[in-house]
Point group: C2
Chain length 172, copies 2
Amino acid sequence: MASMDSNSNEPSSLPPLGDELDFLSLIWAVDHALQRASKRMNATLGLTGPQRLVVRIIGKFPSIPAGQLARLLHLHPSTLTGVLKRLERRGLIDRRLDPRDARRSLLGLTSKGRQFDIDREGTVEAAIHGALPGFSAEKLRATREVLELIAGALEHTGRQSHAPDLRGPSTA
Amino acid sequence: MASMDSNSNEPSSLPPLGDELDFLSLIWAVDHALQRASKRMNATLGLTGPQRLVVRIIGKFPSIPAGQLARLLHLHPSTLTGVLKRLERRGLIDRRLDPRDARRSLLGLTSKGRQFDIDREGTVEAAIHGALPGFSAEKLRATREVLELIAGALEHTGRQSHAPDLRGPSTA
DNA sequence: CCCATGTCAGTATCACTGAAATAA
DNA sequence: CTTATTTCAGTGGTACTGACATGG
């Protein structure tokens, strides 16, 4: 079956994609790697990456209200509701009503939740922690700058696009 | 209601999270910004970020087999199947059977799909392209290096974790 | 028969929109 | 009454596992 040419075993045999497409691919690769690691964490530790980040932030700011946490994470409140629901179902967090404002639910970790508010093997932190020391502080600073700008730029994406309605399966 | 202290209008009033947690938060922020931009693109242009990346890669490598594309993107074949199905439903790609190996479906862009295989406003590329020129080539190179290492490190996450089975809602 | 390619079914998370309930 | 906080219902995309159909 003619397996001596550049066949499908090695993706490295493919040429690069070119400038920004290459960088774009890298960005999505990081994104994708994150999602996969998150899924794997869910299988091994019992909670996903975003869930773990929420746990750690609640651990850092006990009794934080849900809305403030949502703003901190730039999440829509309804999105956070789902995340919190899953964490509560697993018994990692609890909610108390704010005695001074009964609309608010103040978040806290349960004793079980506190077991996750630590550094741990197999987490995204651990992977990053293991990866980052190989770089100089300068490189890390540069990366942080670039990532912050990318995140900021993405926030404003699609604001003034005058797309000629190419969407919609209008022919079906 | 005592609004002169650090209240909920400005998330910047919150203290930093500390070392890796801070970096982790940034990573997830980029991830999250990507997902939101992807969703917005789907509303304005009619296809998501990953879908667009697939379109651009197919445009770069016409008649690429599905499996090779999956490997290129580090995607599970079944995941790619779903992405391709949505692209096909929207009439952006088509599949032909490889005459020499009828198991393979070779991917190509339709004329409609080619309309998306260009630079465009409101895309993730555009945002990145607009954001990156503000940085020196050196910083970009550093970022690329760090991101590649992070992606690589994440790939190996959760391999040897001996977690004391904290998962599962066993009390319910 | 065995392996490769690809799809399908089922499941879970994330993220939104829009509506609603409750409290300030 | 108006606004703020949070939850809920519904939708869609991504990603997996495991099973399956088909072809080499």
